[in-house]
């Protein structure tokens, strides 16, 4: 075989670029008020159909009834006028499919995944569940007990404890301070009546979206959806209360005491921005440089330079309301204070100095280049279409997004850092042995120590 020349000393030049465009999809609002977003993806003989209800998310949880949205979503498929809970589950699972219902802060959802040939049964079932759930008393009781056990279990999960404490601190007085799954106090007072009431007021066809992706013909799907979902007289959905948390007065340190922990779960965070905020795209670029990828500043600092952690990341969580900006890492306890100071250092630095041209270029080309990788599966594509529906984004959003990245300059990154990062009014949460942690944070900010259970403040 002839020796072929390669030059190992420099990165090899790329071949010719192959173009990528977001796949075409159908988006139509039916006369019954339901919006359908559908696209064909035929690599494997599967379909995914998801009904997304943007008026039924956790942001509608009433005060004192935290967890109502997720409990209602969890109960909606536990019985209809035609079938009981097990019959519903078995009808899908016998076909190799799955049915899952739930709620996040923004939406309630019912999703079915099936072999492509069973699409009709799936659609029929989703329509039946949405239109005629019965919420049997026994199922309400069963799910409440299961939920309470889950809350107990999470009370010992250091990562969940850290997230929960952070939200309680930075969103005090707003619905985001609560727990989506509810608390020991709220779940017992949620009864069948409150579930039924939530369902009636929030699960509306009008404004909901059916996302269908897979080995299907979008036009066929559209006809089937029109037939399956009957229009009913509906009232307007209630408007959720505005989420306007008061910024902290300074750097607040909250230690959740977990004696004997092998490590410390560390979080730093404050409120971020809504998903629809005009700064969202430049903020994604900022975050990519700060803590959004392996070679980001925070990961390189905490993991590779200081060996404090297996990995550290930051993110802006986009929601209908202002989701959090947060930095998270599991760090060795003896370095937890130092790790928090390094994070603060990186937050201050990126607000004071322009990022390096190379850093911006890397972040941009990573975000543009990696996009096709993130739309490989039926689930990937469904998630993208869901974002269009829930956040009212235009059809060309993802193509525009790739171009908009080109327009982000270093000055824009600095400007959005100054507007949306606030390292002087930030919550620092550390879940670990308080005795070892307290001295390390004395110089960071005012310290409060919490016991994980009961959730009382110790000092």
């Amino acid at each position: 075989m002839p020796r072929l020349p390669v030059d190992r000393t420099i990165p090899p030049p790329p071949g010719p670029l192959r173009p990528f465009r977001f796949p075409p999809f159908l988006r139509t609002r039916l006369p019954n008020g339901l919006t359908v977003l559908a696209t064909r993806m035929s690599g494997v003989p599967l379909v995914s159909m998801e009904l997304v209800v943007p008026t039924a998310g956790g942001q509608h949880d009433p005060n004192g009834r935290e967890g109502l949205a997720t409990l209602t979503a969890g109960l909606i498929d536990e019985g209809t006028v035609r079938r009981d809970s097990m019959e519903i589950a078995a009808s899908v699972e016998r076909l190799g499919g799955f049915l899952t219902t739930g709620a996040d802060w923004d939406v309630g959802y019912l999703a079915a995944g099936l072999l492509a040939g069973n699409r009709a049964q799936g659609l029929e079932l989703l329509a039946e569940i949405l239109a005629s759930p019965t919420f049997p008393e026994a199922e309400v009781e069963r799910l409440r007990r299961q939920r309470l056990a889950e809350i107990l279990r999470r009370g010992h999960d250091p990562s969940a404890l850290a997230d929960e404490r952070l939200n309680r601190v930075i969103y005090a007085g707003t619905v985001y301070a609560g727990s989506l799954i509810g608390t020991e106090g709220s779940v017992p007072v949620i009864d069948r009546e409150s579930v039924l009431d939530f369902y009636r007021r929030h699960y509306l066809l009008n404004g909901s979206a059916l996302i269908a992706v897979g080995d299907l013909d979008p036009e066929d799907l559209l006809r089937e959806a029109e037939a399956a979902f009957e229009a009913v007289a509906e009232t307007k959905a209630p408007t959720p209360p505005p989420i306007r948390p008061t910024p902290l007065g300074g750097i607040e340190v909250h230690i959740v005491d977990r004696p004997g922990s092998a490590q410390t779960e560390l979080r730093l965070g404050h409120r971020g921005v809504e998903r629809m905020h005009p700064d969202y795209v430049p903020l994604l670029v900022l975050n990519m440089i700060l803590g959004g990828k392996f070679t980001s500043r925070i990961n390189m600092n905490l993991r590779e330079r200081n060996r404090y952690t297996y990995g550290a990341t930051s993110r802006f969580v986009g929601r209908l309301g202002p989701g959090p900006f947060l930095v998270g890492a599991a760090v060795e306890t003896e370095s937890a204070g130092a790790a928090a100071r390094e994070v603060l250092f990186e937050l201050r630095r990126i607000r004071q100095e322009l990022v390096e041209p190379g850093e911006l270029e890397e972040a941009r080309s990573y975000m543009q280049g990696v996009f096709p990788y993130t739309v490989q599966t039926i689930g990937d594509l469904a998630k993208r279409l869901e974002a269009l529906a829930v956040y009212s984004l235009p059809d060309d959003y993802f193509d525009t997004y790739l171009r908009r990245l080109d327009e982000v300059r270093r000055e824009d990154v600095l400007a959005v850092a100054q507007r949306h990062l606030d390292p002087e009014r930030i919550a620092v949460v550390a879940v670990g042995p308080a005795e070892e942690l307290e001295p390390q944070f004395a110089a960071v900010g005012e310290i409060k120590v919490w016991s994980p259970e009961p959730r009382a403040q110790l000092t």
Partner: protein
């Protein structure tokens, strides 16, 4: 499998590197997936965690690629890179925009052929620290985190290579030396102990030419030392461990025939019969009807020497562990005594099929499967036959599996109970 593109061609370079090429131009992506047939089973007691620590060292650069440049080069063009270590193998991959195929081949061939100059004490110390934190994060600071490794310690004797955890024990991670890193590289990271799959928007002929250009000159290494896996019969064993948890949880372990064996597929299918979905007998009985369990599952791992079947069941508050375990085990006993209900079998067969299809959607998963079947069975065509292997399992196979493997004498159990507060 119907309608699914699993076309491939295979080649072997003169240095022994086996190459699988799979063309799928659906998206402008290419993935470079490299399996080395070495994992924690090639370690020895007192030197555990080495294969995994070594995987970390492989991201610290090589002769022509400075420290931290591997990830930077990949991310700069919009690629993703990672690696993972398991009992039987270690894999590495880069998935890149298709026009950057050469970049992936450059990075992987440089660390296969030119790693040694980049192995420094400083890089070793950094990765030792990172891995120790990884162990704390994944094992020691996780509720129930130690149970899985305790189960393997019981299920396999001390000199069996599945006895110790892939991530290793803390004191062994602390003890690894630079010279051991070098020796490990020379012994196992050779073209003749590796499989390279290139998949995506490629022209196979041109891709093969590039593979030859980058990998062709790397010299073959000596044959890899065999692994000894003595497996004396088990007697029932059990441990109870205390942990910072509120809900007790029981883990059961059984040995089942190795991945690839007909009875392995029987075990995996039977696991789906018993616990795959809300309408499965275990979930329905323990979680739904009697409400004594918070969750329940049976899983079978695809190991190469012998496979582990693990059952996990978590108690509801106030439920005695004995009651929970008895209820769980009664379903295993029933599986040995009678064939499954036809509806449960139909559900499990369809579920396995759906999961197989679903797993084939991602290019990097598909490439990983080609590498896996070539590494374990020297047969990339096995990817397309996987569905049939499940369909060929009979109800007699399922009963035989339950009768021979799920006996009390061959069972180990780890029960995690809440730590008594002082």
């Amino acid at each position: 499998m119907p309608d699914i593109n699993l076309a491939f061609e295979r080649h072997t370079l003169p240095n022994g590197l086996r190459v699988v090429l799979h063309r799928d131009a659906t998206l402008p992506l290419v993935t470079v997936n490299l399996w080395y047939h070495v994992g924690s089973k090639n370690e020895r007691p007192g030197r555990t965690g080495f294969a995994h620590l070594f995987e970390h060292m492989l991201f610290q650069g090589s002769e022509h690629i400075p420290t931290h440049e591997h990830f930077r080069q990949v991310q700069m063009v919009g690629g993703v890179a990672n690696g993972s270590t398991w009992y039987d193998r270690t894999n590495y991959y880069e998935t890149l925009p298709a026009h950057h195929l050469d970049l992936g081949l450059w990075l992987e061939s440089d660390r296969m052929g030119f790693l040694l100059p980049a192995i420094t004490q400083e890089n070793l110390e950094t990765q030792r620290g990172v891995v120790m934190n990884e162990r704390r994060q994944r094992v020691e600071n996780q509720p129930y985190g130690r149970a899985g490794e305790r189960l393997h310690e019981l299920l396999y004797p001390g000199d069996h290579p599945y006895h110790w955890p892939v991530i290793g024990y803390m004191e062994d991670i602390a003890a690894a030396t630079l010279e051991e890193v070098r020796a490990f590289f020379r012994t196992y990271y050779t073209p003749n102990n590796a499989v390279l799959t290139v998949a995506g928007d490629i022209v196979p002929e041109a891709a093969l030419e590039r593979v030859q250009a980058w990998f062709g000159d790397i010299p073959a290494g000596p044959p890899v030392p065999p692994v000894s896996a003595p497996l004396p019969p088990l007697g029932e064993r059990r441990v109870v461990i205390e942990d910072a948890v509120r809900l007790p949880r029981s883990y059961f372990g059984f040995r089942v025939p190795a991945y690839g064996h007909r009875m392995w597929y029987a075990a995996d299918l039977l696991a789906a019969v018993l616990s795959g979905g809300k309408s499965s007998p275990l979930y329905r009985d323990l979680v739904y009807d009697r409400q004594i369990a918070q969750d329940v599952g049976v899983h079978v791992s695809p190991y190469e020497e012998v496979a582990t079947c693990m059952g996990v069941v978590t108690a509801r508050p106030g439920v005695e562990v004995e009651e929970l375990e008895e209820a769980f085990l009664s379903h295993l006993a029933r599986a040995a005594a009678a064939p499954p209900h036809p509806e449960d079998l139909e559900r499990a067969r369809n579920r396995v099929l759906t999961e197989l299809y679903s797993g084939l959607q991602k290019l990097d998963t598909r490439a990983d499967l080609f590498s896996q079947f070539t590494t374990f069975f020297d047969d990339p065509g096995g990817v397309a036959e996987e569905a049939d292997r499940y369909q060929q399992v009979t109800t007699e196979d399922l009963m035989e599996l339950a009768q021979t493997c799920w006996t009390a004498e061959q069972r180990v159990a780890v029960t995690v109970v809440p730590r008594k507060s002082s």
